[in-house]
């Protein structure tokens, strides 16, 4: 199993390896800095270690071997869409013409980059039924913030400043309420009905003259499609509010419906989920922000526009815009990767993506339902939830224990304890790029683990045993925060 040979040896920190005299010669030796600057603006010391390139290469190779990615094994992390990341996309963006293009390059010398961004923007708008997209936001949460700033400005200009409330279902991602708070909105949490969905009655009860935005994902984080979404959107619109689509789960709908068709006015897409941009251990992400026609003028600056002569430009002068959201225009390298993925699939290919993602999730659901509770036993979309509630009651084994045991079988654990309304929740998303053999292997492993939970629960409490460390003491980490290395005196 992963790195088991090194279980008893930690890896020293780069700061503990370094020694004087091991510097690499990337540059000719520089003059002393006080030849250029007055001493009072210079720093006293630069307390960083020197390491030979070989030592650095070995160090980070070892760290990579202690890290689990999609390339290592099955990664069924719910709501994160951990599908295969095609290497051609990374190869393309490493080309000098993209990697070394400075953001302040005059438009006429960056036409290729601008055209690529424009093509992506147009395709996304069509694919998701929006009037326009901004490629600026750096991640889903960043786009949520942008969308709510747009809503705030839109209502302000309409003289509807009393609209100070954002509605989020109890299954929503935590970023939704946090983004609302960053725009000064109050947050109402909407309970799901027993079918795991938002009901039209419930939404009609809470909307009113104070409603600004209702934020939803569809399918929701239980993996269930909100069939009444058009009626929900109508109720919100009737009250004068806007509908926001959290695109984290867009992998389930392509080719079948579009947020625009469902009645959403604003949305984001996590291209680092649906469009295979590598997540890189926590970003960089990329969260294009889509809007319906009445909101286009409010998009963050700059916007890529096409002139009548066929050239492309960054447009900064947009009086109604909420303003810029980032240092420079876009995570361009990610926009280019997303476009390459679009080219690899086209419209029919993306429909196939959603079909296989939903097929894989349902296959996994019925197989796992043979030995573990699935609280919503009906057709799911790209993901579904299972629960360890009974195992916990009868054997003391929690979702956390199942998750840790899966690590010993060489699988990444599903998302656990989310959404909050399902006790002992495991949220499982296989994605379309996994084979039936991989899914069957995962089912077998989970089946064995559940059997073990009944016969030998202690074995699960001790898991994982084959990883480089055992269960990590999170309480100690939080009570005595140690967030950096320090030189021992």
């Amino acid at each position: 199993m992963l790195g088991s040979m090194h279980r008893n040896e930690g890896v020293p920190l780069i700061f503990e390896l370094g020694q004087a005299g091991r510097a690499n010669r990337y540059f000719e030796e520089g003059k002393p800095l006080d030849a250029f600057l007055p001493a009072e603006v210079l720093r006293d010391e630069l307390p960083l270690p020197d390491n030979s390139e070989l030592d650095v290469v070995r160090h980070y190779t070892r760290l990579s071997q202690r890290t689990f990615g999609i390339d290592v094994g099955f990664y069924p992390l719910g709501s994160c869409t951990m599908k295969y990341n095609p290497r051609v996309n990374d190869a393309i963006v490493s080309w000098r013409e993209f990697a070394e293009l400075h953001p302040y390059t005059p438009d006429e010398l960056a036409q290729g980059a601008l055209e690529a961004m424009y093509e992506l923007e147009r395709s996304l708008s069509s694919l998701f039924g929006m009037a326009a997209f901004s490629l600026n936001p750096s991640a889903g949460a960043h786009a949520e913030l942008g969308a709510l700033l747009i809503a705030k400005k839109y209502f302000k200009e309409r003289g509807e400043t009393q609209r100070d409330t954002v509605i989020v279902p109890d299954t929503a991602h935590g970023t939704n309420p946090a983004s609302a708070a960053m725009c000064g909105f109050k947050v109402i949490s909407l309970p799901s009905n027993p079918r795991g969905r938002v009901s039209v009655e419930e939404i009609s009860r809470v909307v009113g003259p104070d409603t600004a935005v209702c934020m939803m994902t569809n399918p929701n984080t239980l993996g269930l499609f909100e069939e009444e979404i058009a009626e929900i959107a109508a109720a919100v619109h009737k009250a004068g509010g806007l509908m926001y689509y959290d695109g984290a789960n867009a992998n389930a709908i392509m080719g079948y419906t579009r947020p625009g068709d469902m009645g959403f006015d604003l949305m984001h897409l996590n291209t680092h989920k649906t469009f295979t941009i590598p997540h890189g251990g926590g970003g960089a992400g990329h969260g294009p922000l889509g809007v319906a026609a009445p909101l286009v003028e409010y998009l963050p600056t700059p916007v890529v526009v096409k002139s009548p002569d066929g050239t492309f430009h960054l447009e900064f002068d947009r009086p109604k815009s909420i303003g810029p959201m980032r240092s420079f225009w876009s995570n361009f390298a990610h926009a280019a990767r997303a476009l390459a993925y679009l080219y690899a699939n086209g419209e029919q290919g993306l429909k196939r993506v959603s079909q296989l993602a939903v097929l894989n999730a349902n296959y996994l659901r019925v197989k796992i339902a043979e030995f573990l509770e699935t609280p919503y036993p009906e057709t799911c979309r790209h993901e579904f939830v299972a629960s360890a509630q009974t195992l916990k009651r009868e054997h003391g084994v929690r979702a956390l224990d199942l998750a840790k045991a899966l690590l010993d079988f060489g699988y990444m654990a599903p998302t656990i304890y989310f959404p909050l309304l399902v006790p002992e929740c495991l949220m499982i998303e296989p994605t379309e790029t996994e084979s039936k053999e991989t899914l069957d292997g995962f089912v077998d492993a989970l089946r064995k683990i559940v059997e073990l939970a009944k016969s030998d629960p202690q074995a699960l409490f001790d898991a994982p045993v084959s990883t480089v460390v055992g269960r990590v003491d999170e309480t100690r980490a939080a009570r005595q925060p140690d967030l950096r290395w320090r030189q021992q005196p």
Partner: protein
Amino acid sequence: MAQPENLLYSKEHEWVSLDGDSATIGITDYAQSALGDIVYVELPKVGSSIKQFSTVGVIESVKAVSDLFTPLSGEIVEVNSALENDPAAVNREPYGAGWLLKIRVADPAEAKALLSPTEYDKIVHASH
């Protein structure tokens, strides 16, 4: 388990020990056990005025946060600064070293809105 007899309780699982116009406040054993390992306690500033049942602080465990409500109005005269380095005291001794704050009570009559040990015991058992 039975609740300590000499204290009053709130529905939000705080306890109060009243001594004239001074009150010591903490969270109950049930509350600390439900929260799990407490890692940080955010308490109000000494000298600030607080209103009955309003939020006055936050208690954090590894993966949860919980508001701290004051069971009585008054002025903060002392907070348990030892919890800064030892938040685990709230888990270990919720009624002793894990106390949270002391206030000068503004209106002793407010205590009528609090629960007796028996009444609180019923709430705890109902939530099982």
